[in-house]
Amino acid sequence: MNAGGTPVSAGVPASAEVPVSAGVPVSASVSAQAPGLGGEALRIEGLRKSFGDHLVLDGIDLVVAEHEVVCLIGASGSGKSTLLRCVNLLEPIDSGRIVVQGAEITASGVDVDRIRRSIGIVFQAYNLFPHMSVIRNITLAPVKVLRLPKAEAEARAEELLRRFGLLDKRDAVPDRLSGGQQQRVAIVRALAMRPSILLLDEITSALDPVLVAEVLSVIRELAESGMTMVLATHEMGFARDIANRVAFLEGGRIIEEGPPGQIFSAPRDERTRRFLDRVIEAGRL
């Protein structure tokens, strides 16, 4: 039973062998950090999650450095989306811990809403608020959560809209925008909260191939500006292009991770190789 309404029901944290020292990066065994990147932005340890009897995440360990772009690849149902939703605390986890910017967000009694402010997430189906104009979609959280004055929130939103070529859609209703435009607005909406890390959950999967490019170029620009990002994606070419590191998931586990050059051209694990063969067969790489 969920007492008190906190969605985090961390059972027994699987921290027996992990040295717990309030989020300071210690256990180098978990994952090798990419060189030339900043400090630790996100650390996931022993994350397990099941829906009923179905085990979706079976002990995920992942460390993401600041300014790093990590792509999660794998077949549908491998746990990529669930992993991202867990990091945003949209799904309660069964066990393990998640540390963002040195603070354990899966600890009991944390202010979930405060944590979510600094973790942006963009969904496959955009999930824009259909009853609000573009500008209100973007300014809702800054005004109601960060308590920014309306004018300041709008100025911030307009700056982002201009940056991504959407300023003329300022007062449009989401329904009137193309899928690509809606998804870019959704990205702007997440960015307006100035998150320290951005999670992107198969954001191009619902888009026309023609519209994919305009969304990917936004992500590319964000990567260049140093945004820390974790992407679940089926766009292998893009992943190879943009990621500092690629992690291949299967059956709720990270089977293999490494720089894109190595994963895509010299996968060590048989399962990674099989997955990539199928992707190539489908003409997606």
Binding site: R116, L140, K144, D175, M193
Partner: protein, 275 residues
């Protein structure tokens, strides 16, 4: 110019359709009218129900009564729309901590939706003033309105709840992911979408409520129906009831048409949105 020809023919066929509908309507209703007027006993019916002198006499007095109905309706409608929303929210609470509140809402809705309005009106309108409890009013208008609010809020709460449930969970997820609290998510994201979707059924219930205001007359207030009843029982002529019926229809039919129009507009919007 290339579009002119098909457009004109569409206009012409539309004109033909209107003509056909008009003629067939006139014929059908004309025949029915002729049959009724020439039926045996029509004279008696006309004298009892369609006495024009009685009608002219009744109309202004019944209309004065109707203003009471409108007053009861307006006060009850405001209370119902607010209280029903509270009930719907209570019933939508999923956290086990709030289960007693949810249970209260479930029992309340089952109870008042399942009982005839007239029963509640009798129990409250005659029962409570009879108790002579200090601090409780014995004003029959108050108890009449309270009864209507109790019954109709149960219906309206279910309409609201259907609206709330129709908003896809991904909307709430998007709002929560931005850091909005549960309350703010409900207030700014879920509720506005829910209400927009249930405006037609809400108005439908308001039409029903408008009719039910006549039930309050059983407690004594002289509203349209009561006034008609008083006049009719004086000489067994039912024309005042007809005047009353006509006035009720003048309120409820425009509301019904408004509902139709809103439904059509919503549908058009939905289709435009879906492209």
């Amino acid at each position: 110019m290339t579009h002119a020809a098909p457009r004109r023919s569409r206009l012409r066929s539309r004109g033909v359709a209107v003509l056909v509908a008009t003629v067939s309507t006139l014929v059908v209703f004309g025949v029915i009218g002729w049959l009724i007027v020439n039926a045996d006993g029509w004279a008696t019916v006309q004298a009892r129900f369609f006495d024009s002198a009685r009608f002219d006499e009744a109309l202004p007095r019944v209309f004065a009564g109707l203003l009471v109905n409108i007053g009861i309706f307006l006060i009850a409608a405001v209370c119902i729309l607010v209280w029903a929303l509270v009930l719907a929210v209570m019933r939508s609470l999923d956290d086990p901590v709030f289960f007693p509140i949810k249970l209260f809402a479930i029992i309340y809705i089952d109870l008042f939706r399942g009982l005839p309005s007239i029963l509640i009106i009798y129990v409250l309108g005659f029962g409570i003033p009879a108790l002579r409890l200090p601090g409780l009013t014995s004003d029959v208008y108050v108890w009449g309105i309270v009864s209507l609010v109790l019954v109709w809020s149960a219906y309206v709460a279910e309409v609201y709840r259907a609206g709330i449930q129709s908003v896809h969970p991904s909307q709430a997820a998007a709002a929560r992911s931005l850091g909005l609290s549960g309350v703010k998510t409900f207030r700014y994201v879920v509720l506005p979408q829910a209400i927009r979707r249930v405006i037609p059924p809400l108005l439908n219930d308001m039409v029903g409520l408008q009719k039910d205001t006549a039930l309050v007359s059983f407690l004594g207030p002289v509203e349209a129906f009561r006034r008609a009843q008083a006049m009719a029982s004086a000489d067994f002529n039912f024309t005042p009831y007809l005047a009353s019926a006509m006035l009720f229809l003048m309120l409820t039919v425009p509301m019904a048409r408004l509902v139709d129009w809103l439904v059509a507009r919503d549908r058009k919007r939905y289709l435009a949105g879906a492209r």
